[in-house]
Amino acid sequence: MTPLALYTAAGVGLFAVGLWGVVARGHLFWKVLGINVMGGGIFLILLAAPPRLDPAQADPVPQAMVLTGIVVAVAATAVALGMALRVAARTGLPFLEEDAGDPGSGGGADERGRE
């Protein structure tokens, strides 16, 4: 198993775990965390990218990408956490599902029936 395959498999695994965290868990913190885990998985794949010019030298592009990605991820996490706090403050609960929870509430579907 080449390192690339290994890293890729691990990265995809992490990505999947992260995705699971985002979609399966209602708590917003989990969601934010999940997104970060997804990002981590991707960075793992990038790190193992094959050298392009000189087989002995790592390709600098993926490294740069990972670095940039981390910066972006931090920023996104900050924004997301800030907004999650605001959600908690406004609705009293750090969840999204309550809004969209039961079918027939929250959506426009039943507005006619309700009003």
Binding site: L19, A24, G26, A100, G104, S105, A109
Partner: protein
Amino acid sequence: MAAAELLLALALGAPVLLILGWPLVRLRPWTVRLAPWGAAPALLLALVYLADPSIAPAVEAPGVFLGLQLSLDPLGGALLLLTALLWVAAGAYAWWYHHDDPARDRFFGLFLLTMAGNLGLVLAGDVLTFYLSFAAMTFAAYGLVVHRQDDEALRAGRVYIIMALVGEVAILFGLFALGAAGGGLLAFGPELAEAWSRLAGEPGVFPPPEGLEGAYPWVAGLLLAGFAVKAGLAPLHLWLPLAHPVAPTAASALLSGVMIKAGLLGWLRMLPDDLAVPTLAAAVVAIGAATAFYGVLMGLAQDDPKTVLAYSSVSQMGYMAVGTGIILLAPELAPLALTAVVFYALHNGVAKGALFLSVGVGDRLPGRSSTGGDSRGKSHRAEPGHPRRHAGLHRGWLWALRLGIALPALALAGAPFTSGAFAKGALKDALGELGGTWYAVLDPLLLVAAVGTTLLLARFMATLEARIEQTHPDPSTSSPWGLALPWGALVGVGLAAPLWLPVAFPPLDGAAVPSLLQDLTAATLPVLAGLAVAWAVVRRPGLLGSIRKIRVPAGDLLIPVEALVRRVAVPGRTAANQAAWALRRGALRIRTFAESRIEAVARRDPRLMRSPLLGSLLLALVLFLVFALV
């Protein structure tokens, strides 16, 4: 433009121009005042033409309508004379008759329109002008028929207009076919004849136009039937006995005197000289004869004098149909038969007009100058022929009326030395020339019908007497000179008819003018026989038993027809309504169902927002795409 042409244009133009003033409030009084004289130029034209038929005026106005053509030929000239004469007489009559009528303005407006149509169709030089005028006359006359505006008049009007429409439609069908065969507009004469021959086609030489193969008998038949409605040929006469009695007297006179002759003119103008369908021609003769008979029978069973007269018209038109049929059946007899028919038309028109006008005179007979005897008169009213009858009426007027009725009545009956004998003789000649079975069957039949005619006119006099009796508890005080003069003039013209008839329609080549003295007995006998029967009925009531009490409602066959229509129309409409509702309900049900389905699905939309579902959707989509892409 020569003077004759100018006069020709004016003959039709006068009523038309007068009509134009009618809608304008300022001009209307003038229009109405001049309306009775609208036909005067036409009368003048007729006289001028008769004085010198060689002028043969013709006017063409290509821009007007689809190309208006007016012209005069001997046939037209003769009928123009009758038409103009009757319109002038009836106009003058109507002026007095409707003097105090609140709807007078409307009457004269329609009067003018009808007049324009009637004159137009006589003067028409082409098919469409004829049709235009014919239609104008037909529809304007509706207004005259329903003038009284009561239920009876409206019913009569309804029957009139429905039948007239059916007739128009039949005529129009024929015209379409002729137009298509002849390439558009057709002038009477050679152009029309050519259209007919193209329609007939000629085996091996040239086929009829595409789509019109075999249309010839239909076209001829529909034209015949269409004009037969106007002419009142049984069984298409249904409107006639209804419309004539309810129309104002002057209008009845015109309807019976000239307008129904438009049907006759239509036959003569439109149909080909040699109808290639002998059965049809034979049918015309047969139906004509039957109508002559039928009209008499039905007329005898009437109580209203105008209805009696109307049936008499039906019967008389039967004679003219026989003449027309002879022309169609045997083209070589055309000169003779045409003379007979035209004579018949002219004589009948004048006489019938005079008779109708007499009814109005009877309605307005003045009272006696000395009063008294009122109560006595009333007590004896029930007895027919009682000397005290009509007490309270001016005796002189009464007898003048009786005389004025007797003269045209005798003419109609065909008494010797009258125009009737003249016309009948001509017809008999034509029939004789035709010979064969036709002559053998028809001659005696018509003889019997002539007896009937006399009887019918006797019946008319009797019913008129009764009417005068009924409508005059309080006779008017003024003398009806305004009515009597035009009426008298017509009676006079009718009396003189034997003199002017040959001038009005110089017999065509090969036709001998029948002598007045020809066949004196044949003319006298039916009249005498009829009078005898009439006398018997009046004097010996038991003789005919209950037959003389038989009454047929005016319009005879119309009654079952109306019942039938009612029986079909009502359920038909109900069924159609029900079907429409069922369809609507079905559509609604489908719509409700579809809406509820969509609603049920759409309610699930917010679920797509829920995270677990969203996650699986994302993954499924990726897998799907990968699958699709690889």
